[in-house]
């Protein structure tokens, strides 16, 4: 019995799906015709799944250079009457913010959906930002699923709603939806395809002040229509319990934790519950009905008090005397859980804790000191390890010329190489957002005297690294930029990008070289090197830092995981290295202390290499002072 594919046209069948697969499936069911995205955890699998079925369903799918472009691509398709979406992680929406704020003035012709995958607890992100506020700022209605099934259903419905109200919609996922799994009942896949047509009409498409002033009231009017309509959408559900004193308003995924907490406390039918699937705009009629029926309200939502503040405003305006709790009892930080909701309900009722929580905490706390620190790390054979080692050794040498206490500064960026902040490399001094390595380096260059070496990956360079590089040339920032080119967007799952010569759907295209761009930006020192030649790499970095003016070095080496995969396909064998125990001092630890490669181990006082992990990169052999590391 073969497993059905997520694109199977089998309405009513049940499949076990990842949240992001369900989101992609929802878009297929809606007949999406254009999908654009930039990879970012936890959103990447959405576009990957759409790319796989692109030919089958005639969907145009692209990895865009960044989220701003992705959103503009989708917006254009919508303007031409075609159903379109852009998907991105929460901080990606910051990059798309500019067109987004005017897109809501434009509205939508073909259904237009922005999928924002937020990351409470910042599992794979630089912050915990709550994108419901971005949607609010732009008059963008939000659909927020409580389960993987609902994520699919909402996604399919969002395009229809967008067309009905001629307005773009945001579907807000979170990590535990996007990377949650569940049984999902499939719907029908729309087969009809529209032909895009651009009708010139500057009244809603050319934004000079005149059109801005003309379209803003129209936008507000559309939004007010949506505000009235959300009261009857199936995603908002009010369940009043007879004589209930407490009402809970639960937004998105928090609804599932709330249901479990109520069952755990055996308070079924004793608490009224309003499930919120549209946090913006809130279903005001349902909220008021709940507020009027109870004495106390608990608003359950992850991150910011978004729904809470709106509910408080509704209660205030309608003069409803009800006590409203939220972030006084529900944590502001991190993900929620059944336990956190349970504890909040206990505070407001006389319910007894179902388990002894402090006893459970004690178990964890007592074991914590025993546990080893296990951060994710650069893979064995990763070229970034070699690049960062070469950068550091050269930069430290040059820094001594500035003064004996001068330390080089390494502004870093977003990607696998961010893991270079860990010991032993410790070669990342700042990580803020995509492209910030070069922007921060620009600023540093004007206020500190030290070698400044920014580093970022190839995909990140194309995404947001080019304007700050031009800035460095224009404003004479004496910095070195290391582009760590591993021919992939590796951290998020090896997606192709403009440098790889392949599109999202595997078509060949013109590969764009980072060094060509650097030269075109006016950088006078541009060199391309192989990071696995440590000596040459370090020499090049030294010359680059000493060069008067901005310099760029491209460290080019395929991602180790992809390299291993390709070797396997070609039938090539990996020849691992080993340590000659007679030559090894087993004391100097240079290989361990300088590189931190997971393939190098210590067993019974001997330093060894795990041949099943070693990819044969040979970097350790280059740093061994005893020449004790040899290839098999």
């Amino acid at each position: 019995m073969k497993e059905l594919a997520i694109s199977a046209d089998a309405p009513g069948e049940k499949l076990f799906m990842l949240g992001n697969e369900a989101i992609a499936r929802g878009a297929m069911e809606a007949g999406v015709q254009v999908a654009a995205a930039y990879p970012g955890t936890p959103s990447s699998e959405i576009l990957e799944n759409l790319a796989r079925v692109a030919p089958k369903f005639s969907i145009y799918v692209e990895w865009s250079t960044n989220e701003k472009v992705a959103f503009e691509v989708a917006l254009a398709a919508s303007i031409c009457g075609v159903r379109a979406m852009a998907s991105m992680k929460h901080v990606g929406v910051n990059v798309a913010h500019d067109p987004l704020m005017t897109a809501s003035y434009i509205g939508a012709k073909g259904g237009l959906v922005l999928l924002s995958a937020d990351d409470p607890w910042a599992w794979s992100s630089q912050n915990e930002q709550d994108n419901r506020y971005i949607a609010e700022q732009g008059y963008i209605p939000i659909l927020e699923p409580s389960s993987v099934q609902e994520a699919k259903d909402m996604m399919a419905d969002a395009f229809r709603l967008s067309e009905e109200f001629k307005h773009l919609f945001m579907v807000r996922s979170v990590t535990r939806i996007s990377h949650g799994r569940s049984d999902v009942v499939l719907g029908e896949i729309a087969k009809k395809r529209r032909k895009g047509a651009f009708a010139k009409d500057r009244s809603w498409l050319v934004y000079t002040p005149v059109e801005a002033r003309r379209n803003r009231p129209l936008m507000i009017e559309r939004f007010e229509r949506i505000r009235r309509a959300v009261n009857t959408l199936p995603y908002n559900q009010l369940k009043l319990a007879d004589g209930a004193r407490l009402g809970i308003i639960a937004c998105g995924l928090s609804y599932s934790y709330t249901l479990e907490a109520i069952k755990w406390l055996e308070l079924d039918d004793k608490i009224s519950v309003l499930k919120i699937g549209t946090p913006h705009p809130l279903p005001q009629e349902l909220v008021k009905r709940l507020l009027k029926s109870v004495d106390e309200i608990l608003v359950v939502e992850e991150l910011e008090p978004f729904v809470e503040n709106h509910v408080k405003a509704i209660a205030g305006e309608a003069n409803i005397p009800v006590r409203i709790h939220g972030k006084d009892l529900i944590p502001l930080i991190g993900e929620l859980s059944t336990r956190k909701v349970t504890e909040a309900i206990i505070r407001l009722t006389s319910a007894k804790p179902p388990v002894n929580f402090s006893e459970q905490d004690r178990l964890g706390e007592e074991s914590a000191p025993l546990l080893p620190w296990r951060p994710p790390t650069l893979c064995p054979g990763c070229a970034h390890r070699a690049s960062l080692y070469a950068i550091k050794s050269a930069a430290q040498k040059v820094a001594r010329d500035y003064g004996k206490d001068t330390e080089p500064i390494y502004p870093g960026d977003i990607g696998c190489y961010t893991l270079g902040y860990l010991p032993p490399l410790e070669a990342v001094d700042t990580t803020i957002c995509m492209g910030a390595s070069i922007g921060i380096a620009n600023g540093l260059a004007h206020v500190v005297e030290a070698p400044i070496i920014a580093h970022l990956g190839d995909s990140t360079f194309f995404h947001a690294g080019i304007p700050p590089l031009i800035n460095a040339v224009y404003n004479k920032a004496n910095i070195t930029v290391a582009i760590l080119d591993n021919s992939a967007t590796a951290m998020t799952g090896f997606q192709p990008h403009p440098g790889t010569g392949h599109t999202a759907t595997g078509e060949e295209t013109t590969p764009i070289k980072a060094e060509d761009i650097a030269r075109a930006c006016g950088v006078k020192f541009v060199e391309v090197i192989d990071p696995f030649d440590l000596k040459k790499a370090a020499d090049t970095v030294e010359r680059a830092i000493r060069f008067d003016g901005p310099s760029v070095i491209v460290f080019r080496r395929l991602c180790a995981i992809m390299e291993q995969r390709e070797k396997k396909q070609r039938g090539e064998k990996t020849v691992p290295y080993y340590i000659d125990q007679e030559k090894c001092s087993a004391k100097c630890d240079a290989c361990i202390k300088l590189l931190g490669c997971p393939a190098i181990m210590r067993e019974n006082g001997k330093t060894t290499i795990d041949s099943s992990l070693c990819t044969g990169c040979g970097i350790c052999a280059q740093v061994c002072p005893y020449n004790a590391i040899l290839q098999e």
Binding site: M1, F16, S124, H179, G364, L371, P372, I592, P598
Partner: protein, 201 residues
């Protein structure tokens, strides 16, 4: 009707934790059970701590296992099993692979790895039953060291607690792996299954 059965799988990136939960979930859906689960991806291939939940039953809604409600912990690595001790209760069952993976931070002297005795002692203070096996060795026996996750999946089924039919899970295994690789994975599963049953005798 089954109300709730919670499985937590813990390990290190690269051990196949995510695949185990995927296979369990697919089998549960084939058995017409309601399933919820979740994992943290992204960092998963890079040697960090990884955990994944699979929850089965009519009263399961959220993706995460509530504190103390884990029925079965499948520990692919000893320290990573201990890391999740707070989700266990006296009625929890633990199936533990004894093969350690020592992180590089220990080599660098930045952290310490506990002894197996310390780990066992801690786990045994909570869980009434910790079933131990050397999954790496059984995987070698099966014919491929990378099938340790299938050994552990087999051992988990060997407890007789997972509310999924054995033949359903096997059909899912058969369908998941390419024809050439299915036999070695199913053999690994069977070795784990029998090792667990032996230790329960």
């Amino acid at each position: 009707m089954l109300k709730e059965f919670n499985v937590l799988i813990t390990g290190v990136g690269g051990q196949g934790v995510i695949l185990m939960s995927e296979l369990l979930g697919k089998a549960a859906v084939r058995d017409d059970l309601k399933v919820r689960g979740s994992e943290v991806l992204g960092m998963a291939v890079r040697g960090g701590s990884v955990s994944s939940t699979i929850r089965i039953g009519s009263e399961v809604y959220g993706p995460l296992i509530p504190t103390g409600k884990c029925h079965l912990l499948i520990g692919m690595e000893p320290a990573e099993a201990l890391r999740h001790i707070a989700c266990l209760s006296p009625s929890s069952l633990v199936v533990l692979n004894l093969r350690k993976i020592v992180p590089f931070t220990v080599l660098l002297g930045k952290s310490k790895y506990p002894s197996l005795d310390e780990i066992m002692e801690k786990l045994s203070t909570v869980s009434s039953q910790v079933i131990r096996l050397d999954a790496a060795q059984l995987a070698e026996e099966a014919g491929s060291p990378i099938t340790a996750n299938m050994v552990m999946l087999g051992a988990a089924f060997g407890t007789g607690q997972i509310p999924i039919k054995l033949e359903t899970l096997k059909a899912v295994l058969q369908a998941h792996f390419p024809t050439k690789l299915a036999p070695v994975n199913i053999k690994a599963f069977d070795l784990g299954y029998h090792a667990c049953q032996q230790s329960l005798k």
